[in-house]
Subunit: 487 residues, 2 copies
């Protein structure tokens, strides 16, 4: 494809993306295709001769779009929102156009320096302390692929630091601490590093937050039996229920265990720190007072399209001590002179995308004010949804709504509750299955909270308005009535 | 930014990308900015109020482009080529537009199924055996971020498999085998997993290829002292010199050690398997006969822009046994029924980009024929470059050129060789420093090959023609003359 053909195909792509967004609300939110729909349609071999790009672009509309679950759909309330803004999209486009792997400063100085700048901007936007700034030359921020990969990098840094402090510690005895509510990133870090993960219990009466006392008890018991906890992953806004762990209590406990790394995962909720009024509930003060590392995903609720997971550390040397690879062919005089950051030593891979550009585009186009407006809108909408649940006699909220997330369930009639929790769970599972039959109209997810099946309603898609919430609520109510009537 | 503003900004982006490619040859290949150029220019805080997009887009031209090292530049001969095609760029654009994290089939069926289809296409394009096909339902391919992350995933699978076979094996005793020529991915995998890496020696007389006998000796010695090698990472086309390890010999040795995983990294060279005439030198038969996993990067020489690292395994269960995370909120009825692949369990993270789309666009637009033409062009150009080196009296080739890579150095005059290898190395380091002063005109890298400093000339950028090689050669010769005259 030559430059003029690209211009034509590029204009067409832009037009079709405009059409996609203009008509998205008419599409089913969850893709309605059956397993194998595409595998069975496409040829088994690549074509011998090149095809016209027009035909390829048309196939995207015909074959791919029907197989897309539209995460930007106004009726998407599942998992957590995945951001996509036009600004982010343009950032990604410009960044793709200068394709380079940005593994060292010299490989493309702009990529490295812009990442330092926007990570400092973001740190200030979210109210993080100066110790997290790149400008500090001690701490600093880095854009990771996902919060999972960031957590692996953090655990590697924490393990290396711990082993330096305790050269006698055996890998078999090392333990990663999470809570039972930690995102799968905790489990995955354990799987990848081959280390034990201990998921500490949380209680409903604590709103599923990890308490300092639980941590202390576990630490004492584990240390007594020769185990070596070396990192605690706490969460602000758990995936299941939006719980905020007791970061202060945890920090106070960890004061007595200075070789344990303290990581806070706020992959979803962290971007709400852009609004000062949500900092206290998310325990930002404790983040600034106690932790070694903090993560939040721009690509969830933060207006920047996937992938852009922001990770900050208070001491960059812990990352580079653990992850530095600099063979001869990667040496540069700027690195040797200590003048520049080489981000390859801050993450798992070598090459990396130029992701700071889309963050820069979004932060400049929205400004602090626009970013705050977006966050506040989602939270207000969720307050409205929660009020609908509260006002209904058939449903109940299962936790205090947090930011853009509400957990609720269908109240079981007495005939069901008499059979115990399992029967109420079955009823809500049935409701969820029924709702999935309407997955062209709305998409929500279910979760298991200390044995209780709950429905999750997560708000934050840019195009969601109150009318969409009203409509979703109507579908949920109608489905519930059908389920109850069928009892 | 609303839809119409996006249309305008999108057209502008396409036009500017056209301009960028049309005028790229006029830009300096390596960015000429000084460390701190951007950090010192940009404000320290994000703007309070949103800015006009026009100004933001203009700043990309004014502030970012001068800080870009142009990997697509026709005079870029450093590292390895990084692919970028308009087709790949358009694929990435469409994929960004339907932003979703594709961690399960249901999250967007098209993303999962297209990945299976294109990875089977690619397997056939490269002549991989049926055991690597997704269609086999046993093996299969998955697109990883980079070869480093793929190697970590492979090592995790290998470790898990080994520990199942040898439950008594201690982590402290596990060893990852590489050669001294393995890409930094070997070291990084060891750093991440916290395991010992043993880099086996290679010899100049073997053209820097790892031999079976070296492996066997190391295995016997390590096993005798209680060590547990559990994975061997061999390479087709090492980064330093393009060496091809003796895959057959290694495979034969490993027959006696069935619990050791055999991974072949062909991150750069693997795409040359698209041309049948290069399969024998790259030992494709041995890949098909012996190995558990194989990796090649579309995003290096393979026409698909970063990131798109292709990894195949002969048994997908080894990946999913090691990496499966499926909490309640990620369960889907299609997964429970075993009907679909959920790629989250094939890699390190949870969410992932829809990367198969750009691979699909490229393979369809080029066809097998066009892909082969691109590879052959680079190899022919390198044969031409090598012939220039051979014909000159001042330079010598340091290895047999392989595919698009030549290693050479300045022959030292007798007065220098009399002082030993260090002096010849110093001379070539001086030549390299001098060439870096001309880094606006060409970009090559240096490497250290068993103690010998060599210059690397890597060909493969789409826009490189014979005239660029001639011009580069002239710069190299002129610089060398200046260095020699100054002796």
């Amino acid at each position: 494809m030559d430059i003029e053909a690209f211009r034509k195909a590029g204009y067409q792509a832009i037009d079709r993306i405009c059409d996609y967004y203009a008509s998205m609300h008419e599409r089913p939110v969850v893709s309605q295709v059956k397993p194998g729909y595409l595998i069975e349609t496409l040829p088994e071999n690549p074509p011998e001769h090149g095809e016209q790009f027009d035909a390829i672009a048309d196939d995207f509309q015909k074959l791919i779009l029907p197989g897309i679950t539209h995460w930007q759909h106004p009726n998407f309330f599942a998992y957590f929102p995945t951001a996509n803004t036009f600004e982010g999209l343009l950032g990604d486009l410009y960044s793709s156009s200068v394709a380079n792997p940005t593994f060292s400063w010299l490989a493309s100085p702009a990529c490295t320096e812009l990442e330092q700048v926007v990570m400092d901007w973001a740190a200030k936007l979210f109210g993080l302390g100066d110790q997290f700034l790149c400008k500090s030359k001690v701490g600093g921020g880095v854009i990771q692929t996902t919060a999972s990969e960031g957590a692996i990098a953090v655990c590697v840094a924490a393990r290396t630091r711990y082993q330096k402090l305790h050269p006698d510690a055996k890998l078999e005895d090392l333990v990663i601490y999470t809570s039972t509510q930690t995102h799968s990133l905790g489990t995955k870090a354990g799987l990848v590093l081959g280390l034990e993960v201990r998921a500490l219990e949380v209680k409903a009466e604590d709103e599923y937050a990890l308490r300092g006392s639980t941590l202390k008890e576990a630490l004492e018991a584990d240390l007594a039996r020769g185990k070596r906890p070396f990192v605690v992953i706490a969460t602000v806004g758990t995936t299941s229920s939006g719980a905020v762990d007791e970061l202060d209590e945890i920090g106070e406990v960890l004061k007595d265990y200075p070789s344990i790394w303290y990581h806070v995962d706020a992959a979803w909720a962290g971007v709400a720190f852009a609004c000062p009024e949500f900092r206290s509930a998310g325990k930002l003060d404790a983040v600034n007072k106690y932790v070694h590392s903090f993560c939040t995903n721009f690509h969830k609720w933060g207006l920047v399209n996937f992938d852009a997971s922001a990770l900050w550390v208070t001491d960059r040397n812990y990352l580079t001590d653990a992850l530095d690879v600099t063979p001869e062919f990667l040496r540069t005089k700027q690195h040797d002179a200590g003048l520049v950051v080489d981000y390859r030593n801050w993450h798992l891979g070598l090459g990396r995308r130029f992701r700071s550009l889309k963050v820069w585009f979004v932060l400049r186009s929205y400004g602090i004010e626009g970013f705050q407006r977006h966050i506040r809108k989602g939270i207000e909408q969720n307050a409205y949804f929660a009020s609908l649940v509260c006002a209904s006699s058939e449903f109940e909220l299962m936790t205090k709504p947090y930011l853009g997330l509400s957990l609720f369930r269908l109240k079981a009639p007495e005939s069901v509750t008499a059979q115990g929790l399992a029967a109420t769970n079955d009823l809500n599972r049935a409701l969820y299955s029924r709702l999935m039959e309407d997955s062209d109209k709305l998409y929500i997810t279910q979760t298991l909270l200390n044995g209780v099946i709950c429905l999750r309603f997560a708000i934050g898609a840019q195009r969601t308005e109150i009318e969409h919430i009203d409509r979703a609520w109507k579908v949920i109510k109608t489905s519930a009535q059908a389920i109850v009537q069928a009892l």
